[in-house]
Amino acid sequence: MGLLYQIFIDPFVQMGTAPDLFVQTLWEGMVGGVLYALIALGFVLIFKASGVFNFAQGIMVVFAALTLVGLYNAGVPAFLALGLTIAVMFALAFTVERAVLRPLVNQPDIILFMATFGLTYFLIGFGQFVFGGEPKVMITEQLYLPKGTITYKALGGVISLQKLDIAAAVIASVMVAGLAVFFSKTRIGRALRAVADSHSAALSVGISLEQIWVIVWFAAGLVALVTGIMWGARSDVSFALDVIALKALPVLILGGLTSIPGAIVGGLIIGIGEKLWEFYWGPLIGGGTDSWFAFVLALVFLLFRPQGLFGERIIERV
């Protein structure tokens, strides 16, 4: 009885009696969730348009952040470094299309998937070779990102919000809204969705697959850069970041591989769920739950809704 009470009743009693802690936990979960969502967004963009599961998305986040900091440390002014990093991400997209995707066109998915593994290790090696392997500090101040904390007295306690986290949430929302408008209202956006739906039909109206691939990889690179700046600002810029990128996999399972809203909602569910679970249920089993919670949740999800929250239903004719 005691155990059942601890699992099913006590956490909710705690949430009710200390609402300030509950809200604080929710907020922190949401901030983490936004970053998961951004990584997942990078996966979704590329998967939708080219059917490639890009294992390198995580390392692209590190590579982008590393390029930015590396350029700054080499004496380039911060905003020029930002511009140059964007150019580097474009060059990366272009190179990937020429050197990886184009030669492998029409190969089975698993071959392309393995190719992105190769890309991952190439980027790790290349990044270390050029910028060195030691962790670096993100140039938050030079990019005029706010720092410090805002504290509110509310709900019978104190809630404190990091200004940086608020900025991250705002920038992420603006970027997602921008992408949404771009995809739904413009010629290139329409072409992107067309390619996602049918390669042959897209070719027949004269859409160039090569051009679209460069654009989606570039878009995924930009998303990676923003993610890298935000994440780097909270810890530091190192190759350990790409392990965290694996958290995007459960987000994708929850949200569906092809859905942009799915990536965002999935990211928030995982981020918030993970923090709440750790805070309220974690102590029962000695804590450390955030390394596995997301994956277990994804597993449960797979049992009931394998296509994800917003994914396309899989209907096959027999």
Binding site: G189, S198, S200, A202, L203, V205, G206
Partner: protein, 266 residues
């Protein structure tokens, strides 16, 4: 274009000619040494039993397949093979046997996608959705609305095409091809799987496109009644080989064609 009441006459110059085209996949010969031409303004049918190589032929013409041998001459330019982008920008549009639409997009967006090659505003303006990009969008939208009126699909323009019945999907697909303002329109079994009424509608659209827009049409069709009614000239393929070429009447009486369709004791 056919003269009313009179016999079918192929008018105009040769728009597209395939010469000695052969295509094989590994050991399988899909098309062997086929030559024929399509003249400006006509409706040209490609017929033949299942597996005759009709769709392969269309795929060669719009560049989806690259033939191992032969030449394709389009608007006076000779190519060893076409590329899909080259075909599309040169003015070849097509529809597919098993409707290939952008299923998640609305009928309107599908047809707008057909305008891709006609739109030129750059990435930057599009990102801002302002200035030239916006003007261009409006101007092309007007053209697309004309096509929507022409095909009588006004009331479904906001519906995602995945939800439309099959007959309407085929019509949207035709709309997308028309939005490209093609010189040559390739239709792969435009009436497959339709009931009589839908077939009649589609036949009328095909004739109207040919009449009003003067578009040259090459179509694959199984329904012999439709082929006889619509086409000016017919080319017949069987097992990848051309066995007849001529007017519908001429082809109908051809012994090789009758044998191919009904089977013959060897």
């Amino acid at each position: 274009m056919r003269a009313p009441g009179g016999p079918e006459v192929a008018v105009g110059d040769v728009l597209l000619a395939v010469e000695n085209v052969s295509l094989s996949f590994g050991g399988v010969k899909a098309v062997s040494d086929v030559s024929f031409d399509i003249r400006k303004g006509e409706i040209r049918a490609i017929i033949g039993p299942n597996g005759a190589g009709k769709t392969s032929m269309l795929n060669v013409i719009n560049g989806f397949y690259q033939p191992q041998q032969g030449r394709i001459t389009f608007k006076g330019e000779t190519h060893a093979k076409m590329r899909p982008h080259e075909a599309a920008s040169g003015g070849i549009a097509r529809t597919f046997q098993n409707v290939a639409l952008f299923r998640g997009m609305t009928a309107l967006d599908n047809i707008m996608a057909g305008r891709t090659l006609k739109m030129h505003s750059n990435f930057f303006w599009q990102l801002l959705r302002y200035g030239p990009a916006m003007r261009e969008e409006v101007q092309h939208r007007r053209r697309v609305e004309e096509i929507i009126d022409f095909l009588k699909i006004q009331e479904i323009r906001r519906v995602p095409v995945g939800r439309l019945p099959y007959g309407l999907q085929k019509r949207v697909e035709l709309g997308r091809a028309l939005a490209m303002e093609p010189e040559l329109l390739l239709l792969d079994e435009p009436m497959a799987g339709m009931n009589i009424e839908e077939k009649e509608d589609m036949s009328r659209f095909v004739l109207d496109v040919n009449d009003y827009y003067g578009t040259t049409i090459a179509l694959i069709e199984h329904d012999m009644g439709v082929v006889m009614d619509l086409s000016d000239r017919v080319v017949v393929l069987d097992h990848g080989i051309k066995i007849a070429d001529g007017t519908p009447e001429g082809v109908k009486g051809n012994q090789a064609v009758i044998d191919a369709y009904l089977g013959v004791a060897h």
